[in-house]
């Protein structure tokens, strides 16, 4: 039938797939290996693991290769794969005090217990294209060239940081932080937090479900919605108590032996922020926001912190409306529904076409009638 706008048999679909595969390499270069993606695009694999809710660096690298670098598509592949896996159990709720920190900054205070740890970052570097990268160079390990002998450099502290106590805990000790209302959540958490991949989300959603959905949110959406609050569509301008990146050990009960085992570190980015809130007359306190996500993705962790804090305000701004934020923040939902507009819509279009034509016809008839009436009464004016 030539009339079916997008019509194709399964052969055609296969050919379209083949053509897509053909665009995997558009040039003369070698195919990139999954190892190379895993080793060299750590930020991207981190983002994809975060958005898919599956911590599996090698699978993430494979998905990225398969998706030709499309991060949301790669997260989609991983999520679809994840949903076919059998659920063995849930890890014990970890405390991020156990985070093996490779980077930690506290914008709230000049100095904090354990110190500011910059780690490796480009934050303070000029963003200039490095043309040297367009070659066969391998990065050298800069540490080899550093003089780390404490006797020669008094500024370098050779002691392991003694305490990396959470900065927010310092404020908590002074009773300056109003932690989110947890009464309702505690009731609900008796059987463990709601697993939003297994239990449908209904509004109003408990905070554990909100945090999960934010943590799996699309990085760009979390950033944009967080930014909206900062930009003036809301009240939240947080001070970040801490932004941390590191490796978090997880403990999980072995499905066969029943013994608790510690899994090797899971790379996460974490952020805690406080927002001044003066809800009651007598107590000026800080509201608390939290963000955590897989991989090195500080921007998303901060955006999530802002959204967590904003949602608790329950105000009128977009970022303060939990239902709005959760409805739009998921990359797979938005990606799928936006792209579905490419599907044929000629039935629905015919239906609305019929309405518009019918209304137009009616208008023409009414106009004529009105014109006729006006002509009749015209003499009275």
């Amino acid at each position: 039938m030539g009339y079916v706008a997008v019509s194709a048999g399964e052969d055609v679909i296969r050919r379209a797939e083949d053509l897509y595969e053909k665009t995997r390499i558009e040039g003369e270069s070698d195919t990139v290996s999954v190892d190379q993606v895993a080793d060299q695009f750590g930020r991207l694999t981190g983002q994809v693991m975060g958005e898919s809710g599956l911590y599996a660096p090698r699978l993430a690298a494979l998905a990225i290769k398969q998706a030709q670098g499309d991060a949301v598509e790669a997260a989609f592949l991983l999520r679809a794969y994840r949903s076919t896996l059998e659920l063995w159990g849930y890890a014990e709720a970890p405390s991020t005090d156990a985070l093996d920190v490779e980077r930690r900054v506290s914008p709230a205070f000049k100095d904090v217990p354990g110190g500011q740890i910059l780690g490796g970052t480009k934050d303070y570097t000029q963003r200039l294209l490095d043309f040297d990268l367009d070659g066969e160079d391998d990065p050298v390990n800069p540490i080899d060239a550093w003089d780390l002998d404490p006797e020669h450099d008094v500024d370098i502290n050779d002691e392991e940081p003694g305490s990396l106590a959470g900065v927010v805990d310092l404020l908590r000790e002074e009773e300056l932080v109003a932690d989110p209302e947890t009464a309702a959540i505690d009731d609900h958490v008796e059987d463990g937090p709601q697993d939003t991949t297994r239990e449908p989300l209904s509004h109003p959603a408990p905070r554990d479900a909100i945090l999960q959905e934010l943590s799996r949110g699309e990085t760009g959406a979390v950033t944009a919605l967080g930014y909206s609050a900062l930009r003036g569509y809301g009240q939240v301008h947080p001070t970040l108590a801490e932004v941390r990146v590191g490796s978090l050990p997880l403990r999980v009960k072995h499905p066969y032996t029943g013994e608790t085992a510690t899994l090797p570190g899971t790379d996460v980015s974490e952020c805690q922020g406080v927002v001044p809130a003066y809800e009651t007359r007598d107590e000026a306190r800080f509201a608390f926001g939290y963000g955590v996500t897989f991989g090195r993705n500080e921007r998303k962790a901060i955006g999530m912190t802002m959204l967590d804090a904003s949602i608790q305000l329950d105000g009128d701004a977009p970022a303060e409306d939990a239902e709005f934020v959760l409805d739009v923040v998921d990359g797979l939902d938005s990606f799928g529904f936006i792209e579905h507009l490419k599907l044929p819509h000629y039935v629905t279009f015919q239906s609305i076409l019929d309405r518009v034509r019918s209304i137009q016809e009616r208008d023409t008839t009414t106009d004529e009638k009105v014109d006729a009436e006006l002509a009749e009464v015209g003499g009275d004016d």
Binding site: R79, E86, P200, D333, L343, V347, I359
Partner: protein
């Protein structure tokens, strides 16, 4: 499957195997299928009420029929015959993709003949041919709540449903008639189910809405992205929302007939030809092919009974008049 990260990717998937080796029958694990069936049973028990279920991530994009395929896969067994249509067509790419997933994972027979299918998954159409009491129609749903037209918040809308408080929707209809002289809703026309729940029938054209009323078959509406299932069981009272003196109207095609089969009692879609001519053609392609072979083929030809009410141009009204081609219903 193993939970820990595998040594090599080959462990996860044997590249020499065809299709979806290693996946469960009908793709979803049994636990998930049971859960979807439970939600479906609940939905059947409360006609028109949206039942939440844990919609899984599927190997199809959300918004492309993930709800429909979860409902279908949880209903299908090896003896079923499956038909998939997208906007009336079996040949549409997305329909073909969904059909292929069911074929490779559920090992079922597929068909394009509406009368031969036991389960039909559809996007935006109800077939022209009358469905029977051993058929299930699974409709893909993009927007689960008719009230979304008047309020974006599902939280508030859930309260409205609980109390059957539909005044806001009625005001929207009133305002629409004030402004346009008629209700300006094309597809996705809101219906009342058993006089209790306001329901979004998915974006079927108004042409198909009367078929929901007192049908022999079961309708299952499934949304993947929004994680809700609802249903219209056989012989349920379904009424499009309309004022007593502003009757619900289906799409009209004036004197147009299908360019391919000559039908004047089917839902047509228009195509601008390369010669600049506007032509109309049946939207239900499999029925159109039947009509091309046999122009007398009635919509209930496959049944022993005849004159069954199945939308515009069918049935006999109590006064003995045959339906008028569907101007006013």
């Amino acid at each position: 499957m193993t939970d820990a990260e595998p040594e090599s990717l080959e462990e996860l998937h044997d590249p020499s195997s065809e299709g979806l080796e290693g996946y469960n029958y009908a793709y979803l694990d049994e636990h998930t299928k049971r859960e979807v069936r439970r939600a479906t049973l609940k939905a059947i028990s409360i006609p028109g009420h949206q039942v939440p279920y844990a919609s899984r991530a599927m190997p199809l994009a959300r918004g492309w029929g993930t709800g429909g395929i979860q409902a279908s896969l949880s209903l299908l067994g090896p003896d079923d015959v499956f038909k998939v249509i997208d906007q009336g067509s079996d040949a549409s790419v997305n329909a073909a993709n969904i059909r292929r997933l069911a074929e490779t994972t559920a090992d079922i027979e597929t068909t394009t003949d509406t009368t031969a299918a036991s389960v039909i998954q559809t996007r935006h159409r109800i077939p022209e041919e009358v469905l029977t009491d051993d058929q299930i129609l699974v409709l893909q749903v993009p927007v689960t709540d008719a009230l979304r037209r008047v309020d974006g918040s599902d939280d508030r809308n859930r309260t409205r449903h609980a109390h059957a408080d539909y005044s806001k929707m009625w005001v929207a209809l009133y305002e629409s008639v004030v402004q346009w002289g008629e209700v300006d809703i094309g597809a996705r026309y809101p219906v009342m189910v058993e006089g209790r729940y306001l329901m979004d029938p998915s974006p079927i054209p108004r042409w198909d809405v009367p078929k929901l009323h007192d049908a022999d078959n079961l309708f299952v509406f499934a949304a993947g992205r929004e994680a809700r299932i609802y249903a219209i069981p056989p012989h349920t009272d379904v009424e499009p929302l309309a004022f007593e003196d502003r009757s619900f109207r289906v799409e009209h095609f004036d004197e147009e007939a299908c360019d391919a089969c000559g039908s004047t009692d089917t839902f047509l879609t228009e195509v601008e030809g390369e010669d600049g001519e506007r032509r109309f053609a049946c939207n239900d392609t499999s029925f159109c092919e039947k009509r091309q072979r046999n122009s007398d083929c009635a919509k209930d030809d496959h049944l022993e009974r005849s004159d069954i009410a199945w939308g515009p141009g069918t049935g006999i009204d109590p006064n003995g008049f045959v339906g008028d081609g569907g101007e006013d219903i």
